[in-house]
Amino acid sequence: MAELIIFSLLNGLVYGLLLFMLASGLTLIFSMMGVLNFAHASIYMLGAYIAYTISQYVGFWPGLIIAPIVVGLFGALVERYGLRHVHKYGHVAELIFTFGLAFLIEEFVQLIWGKQTVAYAQPELLDFSLFEMYGSTFPAYRGFMLLVSVAIFVGLLVVLTRSRVGLIINAAITHPNMVAMLGHNVPLVFMGVFGVGSALAGLAGVIAGPVLGTAPGMAVVLGPIVFVVIVVGGLGSLVGAFVASILIGMLQTFAVAVDYSFLQFFGHLGLDMDPDGALSDLYTVTIAQLGPIMPYMLLVLILIFRPTGLFGTREV
C-alpha cells in the first residue's frame, strides 16, 4: 500500500505540475484580458510538435529552448493580429475566436505532421531510472519534468513579486481597468503576457510530448482540464492555479488506484444491491472509473457555489 501511495503521489505531482505550467499562462491571460483562451492547449500541442521537428535535426535539448520561443512568438502574433481585432465585438466573440483557433491549429498540425502519433522520444541522456523503491523505478525523465516545472513556478513567483513588470501584471490581474490609467502601454503588456503564457504552454508541450504522446488529439485531452484548474483555483490567483493544478493532478492519479464503489459502500451498510440490475451502473461504478468525470464535477460545483474559485477575489 505504501508503495502505491508514494508512487501515486509522485505521479500526481508530475502531472499536477505539468498542468500548472499550462494553467499559469492561461490564468494570467484570463485575469488580465478576460479571455478564456480555448487555444491554449493547442499551443501546448504546437510546442510538442515543433520540439519534435527540432529533435529530428539537432536533438532534444535545443528544442527545449527554441520551441517555447517559437510558440511564444506565435502567441504574441495571435494576440496582435487576431484577438485584438476581435476584441471590439466583445468577450463572447473573443471566446469563439479562440475556439476556432483551436480547431484550426489542430487541422494544421494534422496537415503538417500527419494524423498519427509522431515518435517524439525523450533524450537518451535521461533514459535511466532515478531511484528504485519497493522494486519499482522512477524514471529520470519524470524527475526532469518535476525539476523544470518547479523551476518555472519559482521563476514566475520571483518575477511577479520582485520585478517592475511583475508589479504591473499583478495590478492588471486584480484591477484590469487601472493599469491604463497608470500610463502603461496596455496593448503591449497584453501581447507580452499572451506571448509568455503561450511560451509556457509550449514548454509544457515540449517536456510532456515524449511521455503523454505527441498526437493531434493531445490538445483536446488536456484543454478542458486546464480550464477546470483555473476556474477552481480562482481568477487572478497564481497560487490558486498552483494549488488547483496539484489538486487535479492528485485527484486523477489517485482515482485510478481506488476500486471502491457504492456497491461496496452499501455492502458495508448491510444493504444488498443487485449488481446486475437495470440501474446497477449507478452503484457498481468504481472511483477509478469515475476519475475522468471528477474534475468536471468539481468545475460545475465550484461555479455554482463559489464562482470566485478557491483563491480568487473576483467572479469569473
Binding site: 478576460g34 478564456l36 487576431g82 481585432h85 476581435v86 465585438y89 468577450h91 463572447v92 466573440a93 471566446l95 469563439i96 475566436f97 475556439f99 476556432g100 483557433l101 480547431f103 484550426l104 487541422e107 494544421f108 494534422q110 496537415l111 503538417i112 505532421w113 500527419g114 483536446v220 478542458p224 480550464f227 477546470v228 476556474v231 437495470a278 440501474l279 446497477s280 451502473d281 449507478l282 461504478v285 472509473q289 469515475l290 475522468p292 468525470i293 468536471y296 464535477m297 468545475l299 460545475v300 461555479l303 455554482i304 464562482p307 467572479e315 469569473v316
Partner: protein, 430 residues
C-alpha cells in the same frame, strides 16, 4: 426574419400568399427533392442536413436569441437520441402501437427534461460562467456515457432497427426516401415552432435579457427564469434533432453527446449568422454541404471549414446571413448595380488568392500524407507533380498576388458600399 430589427407587425399588412410563401416555397422544394435527385447519396446528405438544421436553430435559441454561449449543447442532442433509440427498441419489443414519426416527441421530452434539470442551476448567469458550466456538464455527460454503459451501450453505443416498429400508414421506413420525408416533416414542424417561439412574449424578452439583463429585471422579468425557459425549450428541440439522428442512423454513441458535436453546432450557427433566425439554417446547410461534398475532393476539408469559421469571426461577425442582410437596404433602393463592378473587382483577386492557398495546401497535404510511389496529384481537375517546384511557385504567387491586390482595393470597395448604404438611408449621395 431578422430579429434584430423587428417590425411592428400591426403595421404590416401582408397578404396571405406573401406571408406564407416563406414556408410554402421551401416546402414544395423539399417535397419534390427525392424524385428530382433520385439518388441515395443525396438523400443521405439531405437527411443529415435536416437534422443539423433543427439542432442549430435550437442552439441559436440560446446563443443568438438568449445570449448564452454553450460548449456542451450536444448533451441534449445526445440524450434525445439515446431516449429515442431506447424508445424504438422498447416499442418493437413490446409491440406498442406507436409508429416511428412519433418517436421524436420522446427525444424532445428527454431534451426538455434534461434541459430543465441542468438549466435550473446553470442559467443564473450568462457570459463566461454559463459557458464554463456548459463545458463542464458537456464533458461530464460525455465521460458518463462511457461509464454508465447499461444505458448508453458504452463505446459501442446503442443500435436499433427502425423497421421493427409498427408501420405508419403502411410505410416501414426501410429506404432513405421514406426517412427523408419523416425528417423533412419534422424539420418544418420544429423550425416553425421555434420561429413561433421567437415571436412570443418570452421569445422577445429573451432578446431583452440578452441585450441587457439588468434592465429586464427592472421591468419585472427574472433574468434567470427567462434564460431557464429559453434553455429548456432549446434543449427540447435539440432532443428532437437527436431523436431524428437516432432514427436516421439507427445508432447512438457517446460522440453524439461529445465535445465535437457541441463544437460543430457552434461553428454552424456562427458561420450562418447568430443574429438572424435564418442564420443557423444557412449555417447548417452550408456546413453539411461542405462536409459531405468537399470531403469527396479533399482530405483537408475540415481545415477549410476552420479557416472560413475564423474568417467569419474576425471579419463578418454577423455571419453569411449578415452579409446578405447588410445589402437589403441597398437592394431596396435599387443601388445594387452600382456595387457590381467594385465587387467583381475585389472578387477576382480574392478568388485568385483563395485558389493559390487551396492549391498550396493540397500539395502540402499530399506530401505529409506520403502516398508512396506517386508524385502526381489532382488539384482543380489538373494533374500536377508535387516534386516539381513549378506548381508550388505558381500557387504561392497566386496567393500573395491575390492577397496584395485584394487588400489594395478593399478600402475603395468598402467606401462604395458605405456610400450606397448612406444613399439607402438618406436618399442622397455622400
Amino acid at each position: 426574419m431578422s430579429n434584430m430589427s423587428e417590425t411592428a407587425g400591426v403595421a404590416r399588412k401582408a397578404s396571405f400568399l406573401s406571408r406564407y410563401a416563406i414556408w410554402l416555397v421551401p416546402a414544395i422544394i423539399v417535397a419534390i427533392m427525392p424524385p428530382v435527385l433520385d439518388s441515395n447519396v443525396a438523400m443521405a446528405v439531405l437527411n443529415q442536413m435536416g437534422i443539423a438544421v433543427i439542432f442549430t436553430v435550437a442552439y441559436n435559441m440560446m446563443l443568438g436569441q438568449g445570449g448564452m454561449l454553450s460548449f456542451g449543447f450536444a448533451v441534449y442532442f445526445g440524450l434525445g437520441g439515446y431516449f429515442a433509440i431506447h424508445g424504438v427498441n422498447i416499442i418493437s419489443e413490446g409491440g406498442w402501437p406507436i409508429p416511428l414519426p412519433f418517436v421524436p416527441f420522446l427525444g424532445g421530452l428527454a431534451g426538455l427534461a434534461f434541459g430543465a434539470l441542468f438549466g435550473s442551476f446553470s442559467t443564473n448567469r450568462a457570459g463566461t460562467v454559463f459557458a464554463m458550466i456548459s463545458l463542464g456538464l458537456g464533458e461530464m455527460m460525455a465521460s458518463s456515457s462511457l461509464i454508465f454503459s447499461k444505458f448508453s451501450g458504452g463505446e459501442e453505443g446503442i443500435t436499433t432497427d427502425r423497421t421493427e416498429v409498427p408501420p405508419f400508414f403502411g410505410v416501414e421506413f426501410t429506404t432513405e426516401q421514406e426517412i427523408y420525408y419523416l425528417i423533412a416533416g419534422w424539420v418544418f414542424f420544429a423550425v416553425f415552432l421555434m420561429y413561433r417561439f421567437s415571436r412570443t412574449p418570452i421569445g422577445r424578452i429573451a432578446n431583452a435579457v440578452r441585450d441587457n439583463p439588468e434592465r429586464a429585471e427592472f421591468l419585472g422579468y427574472s433574468q434567470k427564469w427567462v434564460r431557464f425557459m429559453s434553455f429548456s425549450v432549446a434543449g427540447c428541440f435539440a432532443g428532437v434533432a437527436g431523436a431524428l439522428f437516432a432514427l436516421n442512423y439507427e445508432i447512438v454513441t457517446e460522440e453524439t453527446v461529445g465535445a465535437l458535436t457541441s463544437g460543430v453546432v457552434l461553428l454552424q450557427a456562427y458561420i450562418g449568422g447568430i443574429g438572424f433566425f435564418a442564420g443557423p439554417i444557412v449555417g447548417a446547410v452550408i456546413f453539411t454541404l461542405l462536409q459531405t461534398l468537399m470531403s469527396n475532393y479533399t482530405e483537408i476539408w475540415a481545415l477549410y471549414v476552420g479557416v472560413v469559421f475564423v474568417g467569419t469571426v474576425m471579419y463578418a461577425p454577423a455571419g453569411l446571413t449578415g452579409l446578405i442582410m447588410m445589402h437589403i437596404p441597398v437592394y431596396r433602393v435599387g443601388r445594387m448595380g452600382k456595387l457590381t463592378v467594385p465587387y467583381a473587382r475585389i472578387a477576382l483577386p480574392a478568388l485568385i488568392c483563395a485558389l493559390g492557398a487551396i492549391g498550396f495546401l493540397e500539395l502540402w497535404q499530399h506530401i505529409s500524407a506520403g502516398a508512396t510511389g506517386e508524385s502526381e496529384i489532382h488539384v482543380f481537375f489538373m494533374t500536377l507533380d508535387y516534386t516539381s517546384p513549378i506548381p508550388w511557385i505558381v500557387f504561392i504567387a497566386m496567393f500573395l498576388g491575390g492577397l496584395w491586390d485584394a487588400r489594395r482595393v478593399a478600402p475603395a470597395v468598402a467606401d462604395t458600399y458605405g456610400n450606397a448604404l448612406h444613399y439607402a438611408f438618406t436618399g442622397e449621395d455622400q
